[in-house]
């Protein structure tokens, strides 16, 4: 790294200890930061494990409905019968095959979680970016009113809305997404403000680069990694929240199979056939933990990149 040479007053003293690996001499354009971050993250064991788990669970949930036999809604035996050759995981409270219901009961939670996180983080990031630009009274007002949403514990918010409209899936997705907006907005706003203060952005503003171009070309590329980390965290929470609401009975309604609701309805027979509960519990656990491992890997890789570029100058 030739970074610190020729420069004094570098934060960590006058010499750079070559702790990070030497940068490759690229001849082509460097790949976008997201790709760099992803590649570095994948070098860590934790990320690889997380990715493996997530791939397994997602595959299970997406392919599941097509291979579930006997059909998840039909009776396949006596209620709470134990694992047998016919029903590998036994039957549930109404006698339906636990395995079939397990295969078919995940994709809705997964889809809702992903959509809620995407909408929430997307809208939140956009609002945060806009709020980082102007400081008028109107924008302060918007931020404050959004903060009201933050004043509700997310579960309470969801339950409140459900108590009004009824257990509609779209409502739950919207409620969860709504809860993400102010939090993401605040994070993005503070990061964008920090980037905006840097000299090269001031230079761009001074020579007259239009605002939208600065946001897209200078600010956005420098905040994508943090937004990615935020998305990862919120995806975990989204899935957790939606599963919780399903568990309480406000998600996908019976008789359709649903991991969250399965746990609730099979709790009674825990001592007879535990698989009705253990199955979905393990699936939800694997999914959330896997995503969190990946997010952690990405977070470490982002910090590592920031440290390297700090040391380089």
């Amino acid at each position: 790294m030739t970074g610190t040479v020729g420069m004094r007053n570098v934060a960590d003293g006058s010499e750079a200890l070559a702790v990070a690996p030497a940068l490759p001499r690229v001849r082509r354009r460097r790949p976008p930061e997201v790709v760099v971050v992803a590649r570095r993250a994948l070098r860590l064991t934790k990320t690889k494990i997380g990715l493996g788990i997530v791939v397994f669970v997602v595959g299970f949930a997406v392919v599941g409905p097509f291979v579930a036999s006997p059909p998840p809604k039909s009776i396949a035996g006596a209620p709470f019968s134990t694992a047998s050759a016919v029903n590998w995981l036994g039957t549930d409270a109404l006698g339906r095959s636990v395995l079939s219901r397990l295969l078919a009961g995940g994709w809705v939670i997964l889809l809702c979680g992903v959509i809620a996180a995407l909408i929430g983080v997307g809208v939140g990031a956009a609002l945060g970016l806009m709020a980082s630009w102007r400081f008028g009274l109107r924008d302060e007002f918007i931020m404050r009113s959004l903060d009201v949403i933050l004043s509700f514990p997310p579960l309470i918010l969801g339950l409140l809305l459900v108590s009004v409209v009824g257990p509609k899936l779209w409502l739950i997705v919207l409620a969860v997404a709504l809860w993400h907006v102010p939090g993401t907005g605040r994070v993005v706003r503070s990061v964008a403000l920090e980037v905006r203060r840097r000299d090269f952005v001031q230079m761009a503003e001074a020579i007259g680069v239009p605002t939208w171009r600065i946001m897209g070309g200078e600010i956005l590329p420098n905040i994508t990694s943090q937004v990615l980390v935020e998305f990862g965290l919120r995806l975990t929470w989204s899935i957790g929240l939606i599963a919780s609401l399903s568990f309480l009975g406000f998600g996908r309604q019976p008789p359709a199979p649903d991991w969250g609701y399965m746990i609730y309805e099979n709790l009674v027979g825990l001592s007879v056939n535990p698989w009705g509960v253990i199955g979905p519990v393990i699936m939800i656990a694997l999914l959330t933990v896997g995503i969190n491992f990946i997010t952690d890997g990405i977070q470490r890789s982002v910090i590592g990149i920031v440290r390297e570029s700090d040391a380089a100058g």
Partner: protein, 327 residues
């Protein structure tokens, strides 16, 4: 000097402003809650009298319940009632909401206080230990454990504990909390164990990671390096340098995490059938019991707002730099 009572220091002003903001937030929250529940299809009069009733009696009941008044009048009736302790009557059994709550509030508070206190103590020890032994085997293991716990939704942790300790694997603890009516949960402490442990496991991952990160940031800072160059002992470094500098962000996270308990308590009580306000809330939502929903949502959200307020104040007051720069 003589006008001191008028001219509070900037620090005091900050606290006052923040408290006012909290109050305003509570009021706005209450409005949102009221507005949301008032959008219920059907009206309260119908729900009380049932479906088979004469239009005349329906009309009379509506008048009695002030349902024909404009929104803000209804809101004010409700809100002033809340402030004076009258929380309305349950639509399900007509009993006053406040009588429903007294024992339940104590129960829920017991959970929150126990989980908060024990959880905080554990996270401080574990967090500091991890930071001081960072990179070693135990720290790595703890890192994975906290990462895992942080990802799991509370009800999964709850069910997991039930499976482990109450039914399938071991059967040492009661899976369901059956508290004799009229008593609080404190009378049967064994019932408290699983719910409290669930809440602790759901919240300490965040505080441990935060404390560890702050402590490491301090340990790797220039001023700690300088202290070592002055010959200061490690013990003294931890006490005089690490703790005061890691404190603000840690306390802030603790307060935030405690605020999440407002949601966590709902799920946990539901799983364990624990007679607290969380369980009552879920029941009320299922029954579309508006007055109960309103009252409990207000209490839960209120707790959340208060804890957030504490977090904000802690962040500013505990850090010497922000505290003095405001003075």
């Amino acid at each position: 000097m003589r006008e001191r009572w008028l001219h509070l220091s900037p620090l005091a002003w900050f606290v006052v402003r923040r408290l006012l903001l909290g109050l305003v937030t509570l009021v706005v929250v209450s409005m949102v809650i009221f507005a949301a529940t008032e959008l219920l299809p059907g009206n309260a009069a119908q729900a009380i009298l049932g479906l088979t009733t004469t239009p005349a009696r329906l009309h009379a009941m509506e008048l009695q319940l002030h349902l024909n008044q404009p929104f803000y009048t209804q809101y004010w009736d409700w809100f002033s009632g809340v402030l004076s302790g009258h929380l309305g009557h349950s639509l399900v059994d007509g009993r006053p909401v406040s009588s429903l709550l007294s024992n339940r509030i104590v129960n829920s508070l017991t959970l929150v206080v126990l989980a908060g206190a024990i959880g905080t103590a554990i996270s401080i020890f574990v967090g500091l230990y991890s930071a001081l032994h960072r990179g070693r085997w135990l720290d790595e293991v703890l890192g994975v454990v906290t990462l895992t716990l942080a990802a799991l939704p509370e009800f999964v942790i709850a069910i997991g504990l039930v499976i482990l300790f109450a039914t399938v694997v071991f059967q040492v603890l009661p899976p369901v909390s059956i508290v004799p009516p009229g008593q609080t949960a404190l009378a049967s402490p064994r019932l408290l164990i699983l719910p409290v442990v669930t809440l602790i496991l759901a919240t300490i991952p965040y505080t441990i990671r935060m404390l560890r990160a702050s402590a490491i940031e301090v340990l790797e800072s220039d001023y700690v390096a300088m202290a070592r160059l002055k010959g200061v002992s490690s013990r003294r470094i931890v006490v005089r340098h690490v703790v005061p500098n890691a404190l603000p962000s840690t306390v802030q996270v603790i307060a935030l995490v405690l605020s999440w308990l407002a949601g966590g308590v709902v799920l946990v009580e539901y799983v364990f059938n624990y007679p607290g306000i969380g369980q009552a809330f879920v029941d009320a939502v299922s029954n579309r019991d508006a007055p109960v929903v309103q009252a409990l949502a207000l209490i839960l959200a209120g707790f959340y707002v208060v804890m957030n307020l504490c977090a904000d104040l802690a962040a500013v007051l505990l850090s010497a730099r922000t505290r003095t720069s405001l003075q």
